[in-house]
């Protein structure tokens, strides 16, 4: 069985239910589906929006690479990863990962693994816009994200 990840980089929002249905429709061998949705937080009202920049082409390629690693490592039956770019408001979706598997731990691990690697190796950058309309700063990369990634070694 050769499963390939479903990977998309898009400015428009995604629909969680639609993506799950696409992954599981007609199947009777999936026992566990884990989804991760990352959303834009308003940082106690300080943030008016995030601007997501990406490296077109490379972003998709890295997500494909990460997705294939996860499919193989956790013997997943399906994997979807969607990352948005452009301006994103507080409360809106940024990223979606879905992992499907016969058993629960592989689905949890698969989705968690993909998020840890997306954070540290997929070429996306966040810039914060302040509530008063002025641009704030680029979000700094966190050591904690590298640590989270390194737990999979």
């Amino acid at each position: 069985m050769s499963v390939v990840p479903t990977i998309r980089v898009q400015s428009r929002d995604f629909d969680l239910q639609e993506e799950i249905s696409a992954l599981t429709a007609g199947r009777r061998d999936i026992g566990a589906v884990v989804t991760f949705t990352g959303l834009c937080r308003d940082e106690q009202g300080a943030l008016s929006a995030l601007e997501l920049e990406h490296y077109p082409g490379m972003a998709e390629a890295e997500m494909q690479r990460i997705g294939r690693l996860a499919l193989e490592r956790f013997s997943l039956m399906g994997l979807t990863a969607i990352h948005r770019y452009g301006k994103i408001l507080p409360g809106e979706n940024i990223v979606l990962v879905i992992a499907a598997s016969p058993h629960r731990q592989a689905a949890f691990d698969g989705a968690n693994f993909v998020m840890d690697f997306l954070k540290t190796s997929a070429p996306f950058w966040k810039k914060e816009h302040a509530q008063d309309g002025t641009a704030r700063d680029w979000v700094a990369a966190k050591d904690a994200d590298d640590t989270a990634r390194d737990k999979w070694r």
Partner: protein, 85 residues
């Protein structure tokens, strides 16, 4: 060797452009050599690449270590650590 450079996030903002085609001298062999060469091209490059050790480099849209050779590169991406997800 002529190569297309693409910049992202604050590297792009500080250099003041998203991409450019430049001619590299023969002395530029590794990704690290490239970053140090770029720093000599002007104040905006110096400013963007002040701490080259934090900068990430991708050759033909794949991450590379700073010690890797860049021979054969058609496109080189230069950017800060990623903050997606």
């Amino acid at each position: 060797m002529s190569v297309k450079l693409v910049y992202f996030a604050w590297v792009r903002e500080r250099i003041g452009k998203g991409e450019e085609e430049i001619e590299l001298p023969d002395s530029v062999v590794t990704a690290r050599d490239l970053l140090h060469h770029l720093k000599t091209l002007g104040e905006e490059y110096e400013n963007a690449l002040q701490y080259p050790e934090v900068i990430r480099v991708a050759v033909n849209q794949e991450h590379v270590e700073h010690s890797e050779k860049i021979a054969g590169a058609r496109e080189i991406g230069i950017f800060p650590p990623m903050t997606g997800g």
